[in-house]
């Protein structure tokens, strides 16, 4: 079985190392001028610092930024499904001169973790029948959970492509795009899953994986946030907000970096009842 090539694992990923006590970059607003120092503080050569033991409270360097995608361990997708998902995600969000695409950002890994967990099992999805297909205004009305929907559609896609020739991952980029467009137009019925419904869910979840916090397994090293200039989960913009038109250059911060807790204890307000 041929898998898409992927660089070997060289180090623990940011996501893993962020689980231990890491130092929080200065919480002050760093606007243009101090940005260089902040960026330097956040960038260390890959592999230069060993993971800090959880018991160490002393400051350790922030998580290194690595451009080498780690080989994910897929728990939900089987090998045939992975071939399609990795190749398809990379066409939806391709790597280019502007930066990483879905594969390097770990989007397939995000999809795998979501579909294999509560979301895949129908978290926050009302699942009582009867199942009647309504108008577009009424939204999703299929009995499939996301996991069932992906599994059903991917099996149908792979068997359909097997009848026609090489698997999706071996098609040219243009041919892959043509096939994805045919899914988006909804011209395929994928064993009960309308192709457009599958495609919409694949695209929506890929964008989620690209832009969500790295703790969920995508947006590795916050590549997507760096690309657009989003400072991430935590910042105090009180001083910066009325400095109009000034670029905010601080390196982004993940939920996983918030080692200080940010708990605001307010003596007037009880933390719990009774």
């Amino acid at each position: 079985m041929k898998l898409p090539t992927s660089p070997p694992v060289t180090r623990r990923s940011f996501v893993v190392s962020a689980g231990v006590a890491t130092v929080v970059p200065p919480a002050v607003a760093l606007v243009a001028g101090s940005a260089g120092a902040a960026a330097a503080a956040a960038h260390h050569p890959a592999g230069s610092s060993p993971p800090a033991p959880a018991s160490v409270a002393a400051p350790v360097p922030p998580a290194p930024v690595s451009s080498t995608p780690e080989r994910p361990v897929y728990l939900f997708f089987n090998v045939a499904e992975v071939q399609f998902i990795e190749a398809a995600c990379e066409r939806l969000i391709p790597a280019d001169e502007a930066g990483a695409g879905a594969l390097a950002a770990g989007v397939p890994n995000y999809l795998d973790k979501q579909l294999g967990g509560a979301w895949g099992a129908g978290e926050r999805l009302y699942r009582s029948g009867p199942w009647i297909q309504g108008s577009p205004s009424q939204g999703y009305q299929l009995p499939f959970t996301p996991a069932e929907l992906f599994r059903t559609a991917l099996r149908a896609i792979n068997s359909e492509l097997a009848r026609q020739g090489p698997p999706f991952s071996e098609l040219s980029a243009d041919a892959q795009d043509d096939y994805l467009k045919s899914l988006a137009k909804g011209s395929h019925d994928l064993d009960g899953v309308p192709a457009a419904v599958f495609f919409d869910m694949l695209l929506k979840m890929s964008i989620e994986g690209f832009f969500s916090d790295p703790v969920y397994g995508g947006n590795r090293d916050m590549v997507a946030w760096r690309m657009i200039g989003f400072p991430g989960a935590y910042a105090d913009y009180y001083e910066a907000i009325d400095r109009h038109g000034v670029k905010f250059e601080r390196a982004p911060m993940s939920i996983g970096e918030d080692g200080q807790g940010h708990v605001h204890v307010h003596p007037e307000i009880p933390a719990s009842v009774g």
Partner: protein, 589 residues
């Protein structure tokens, strides 16, 4: 078999904004009050703290703070000829659950409606003539006036510490405020929040066109504040995680910051969470409530007797509570008879996107939920509608509330939905786009209503609420008109490309618009067209009060929370000064 509990004076169903304020007032007046909340107990510490709270996937996309739609969704259809189907995931509107209710995840946009709004039917007839309106519209006066509510608006704003700038103090127009607002007795308790760059661009452009920009009133506070209850709040730091999130800073006014600590300290009040009220119980005459029946988290059923029952739920849940309890006659769109579920309305939201060159740095992620700059020149009846073929309007504002990238990555029309073209456009425009919100009114009409679904059930086996709604033609015309005005402002800002997106039909449940569902238990002076009287007391069962945006006969051009806060204090006064001294009809039916 339900376990019967000891009788109390008052049961409050739902401990959100309305429930916590009313319970506080009544408990302080010496009445024994039980608050029944279906969700969990939660406070700023520890529930709303980092690192977890700034998680876009969990709170924005997965909607962690919202009503549990796996157990209690609603069904929906555009027209009564269709089959209502369950909204299987929330998208268009997001009712909350848990202590503090939907206000925990609100934006903090804190408006008053205008005097005209409360007498809309009368004033529209007077100004434009009887034949002006589409005959399908069912507009009506509220039965209460702005002047009557003014002291209660004032009290609510001072409870929250709302940050803003008065535009009309006792009839004197104030520079820098909204000149269209109805007179207020004093200025806001705290000054406006700092202005974001998008607001500054909007202000300059709107002024150049002769409009009257002013800072959006915000209950994300501009400075530390101690409210009349003695509770302290902090300054908002524009963290950009406001609406759909709880605030970890004590800077967004929510029941947790402005009232709950006082309420919970009063021994006359008992909070019970995890309690799903099944119905309000009536005696054999059906004219008196005896209490409520609820099921707790462990599945145990209780009957809580009470002399007075106040339902303080989110609008659509208030409607359902009355229908499940058999209080008031359900509305029938075929005959126009009946009142419960009648005049369901919403909000007509449009947008304008202004795309700038890459040298204009917008920083959309620096935001509170309400730190906008806006105009009311095209809201309500602030402009002449003669010849326009519609009534109502919208506030237009550069209301920049966040730059959270899963949900916010604007691209111009024609951008591919995926691939390199999409990625390039997202990178190019993310930090260089100004979005306007055009927050439009919503008229009521015969065809839009809510009733009980004949098929789908909640987790307790009770029928779901079914909403039948589409945008009235009046509102789609209004959206076209105001969006054109918004585009003019975008162009005056000097944007490279300005794209107006007036709201179009059909209404879809699949795109977030607002959580401003209104109507269905409408207030008024005529029992044949209202569920509750001007004090929000049931015409049919006078020891039941129904308080929520469900009371609005139609929805105005502004966020509904400020008006709901005013109505809450209006009712609290009526209860304390009249009803509880002499229980009975406050207005003869």
């Amino acid at each position: 078999m339900a376990q019967r509990l000891k009788e109390v004076d008052v049961v409050v169903i739902g401990v959100g904004m309305v429930g916590s304020i009313l319970a506080k007032e009544l408990a302080a007046a010496g009445y024994k009050v039980v608050g029944l909340e279906r969700g969990t107990t939660r406070f700023t510490v520890p529930e709303f703290q980092s690192p977890g709270i700034h998680d876009e996937l969990r709170f924005d996309v997965r909607k962690a703070l919202m009503q549990d739609n796996t157990r209690e969704p609603v069904t929906f259809r555009n027209h009564s000829s269709e089959i209502g189907l369950p909204i299987r995931r929330w998208e268009s509107f997001l009712p909350g659950t848990g202590l503090g209710g939907s206000m925990v995840h609100w934006n903090g946009q804190t408006f008053r409606f205008q005097a005209n709004d409360f007498e809309l039917a009368t004033r529209t007839r007077e100004r434009y003539g009887k034949g002006f309106l589409d005959p399908d519209l069912t507009l009506q006066d509220w039965g209460v006036t702005y002047d009557e509510l003014e002291p209660h608006y004032d009290r609510f704003e001072y409870l929250l510490g709302t940050s803003g700038k008065a535009g009309n103090l006792k009839g004197q127009i104030q520079p820098g405020g909204d000149p269209h607002e109805s007179p207020r007795s004093r200025d806001y308790p705290t000054p406006p929040q700092k202005e974001h760059y998008s607001g500054a661009l909007f202000r300059k452009a709107a002024s150049s066109l002769g409009h009257h920009p002013f800072p959006q009133p915000s209950s994300n506070l501009s400075q530390p504040y101690t409210n009349p209850e003695g509770l302290k709040m902090n300054t908002c730091v524009f963290c950009g995680f406001c609406e759909r999130y709880a605030c970890e800073h004590y800077a967004k006014s929510t029941p947790q910051t402005f009232i709950l600590p006082v309420l919970l300290a009063n021994p006359n009040f008992e909070l019970r969470t995890g309690c799903q009220v099944q119905r309000i119980n009536l005696d054999s005459s059906k004219k008196r409530a005896t209490g409520v029946t609820y099921i707790d988290n462990a599945g145990r059923e209780f009957e809580q007797p009470a002399s007075l029952v106040i339902t303080c739920l989110f609008a659509i849940n208030n409607i359902r509570m009355l229908l499940l309890s058999g209080i008031g006659k359900p509305y029938d769109p075929a005959t126009g008879k009946g009142v419960v579920g009648r005049n369901y309305a919403y909000q007509t939201m449009s947008t304008v996107a202004s795309f700038f060159d890459e040298d204009v740095i917008i920083n959309p992620f620096m935001a509170s939920g309400a730190s906008g700059t806006m105009i009311n020149d095209f809201a309500g009846d602030n402009f002449d509608h003669s010849g326009l073929g519609f009534i109502g309007g919208a506030f237009i504002g550069a209301v920049n509330t966040n730059g959270r990238p899963i949900q916010y990555h604007p691209t111009p029309p024609g951008t591919p939905a995926w691939g390199k073209g999409w990625k390039d456009a997202v990178i190019k425009h993310y930090n260089h786009t100004v979005m306007f919100s055009l927050h439009g009114s919503s008229v009521s009409q015969k065809q839009n209503y809510a009733d009980l679904d004949p098929t789908y059930k909640d987790a307790w086996g009770q029928p779901l609420l079914r909403i039948t709604f589409d945008f009235p033609k009046n509102d789609l015309k209004m959206a076209e008109y105001v969006t054109a005005r918004g585009v003019e402002i975008g162009k005056a800002m000097g944007a490279k490309q300005v794209v107006g997106s007036p709201r179009k039909g059909p209404y879809t449940t699949q795109q977030y618009q607002t959580t401003h569902n209104t109507g269905g238990t409408v207030m008024g002076n005529d029992p044949s067209t209202s569920v509750v009287n001007r004090y929000l007391q049931s015409w049919d069962v006078p020891n039941v009060f129904v308080i929520g945006a469900s009371a609005y006969p139609q929805n105005a051009s502004w966020n509904p929370t400020g008006t709901l806060g005013a109505l809450t204090y209006w009712v609290a006064d009526a209860l304390k000064s009249k009803y509880l001294r002499n229980p009975g009809h406050l207005v003869s039916p």
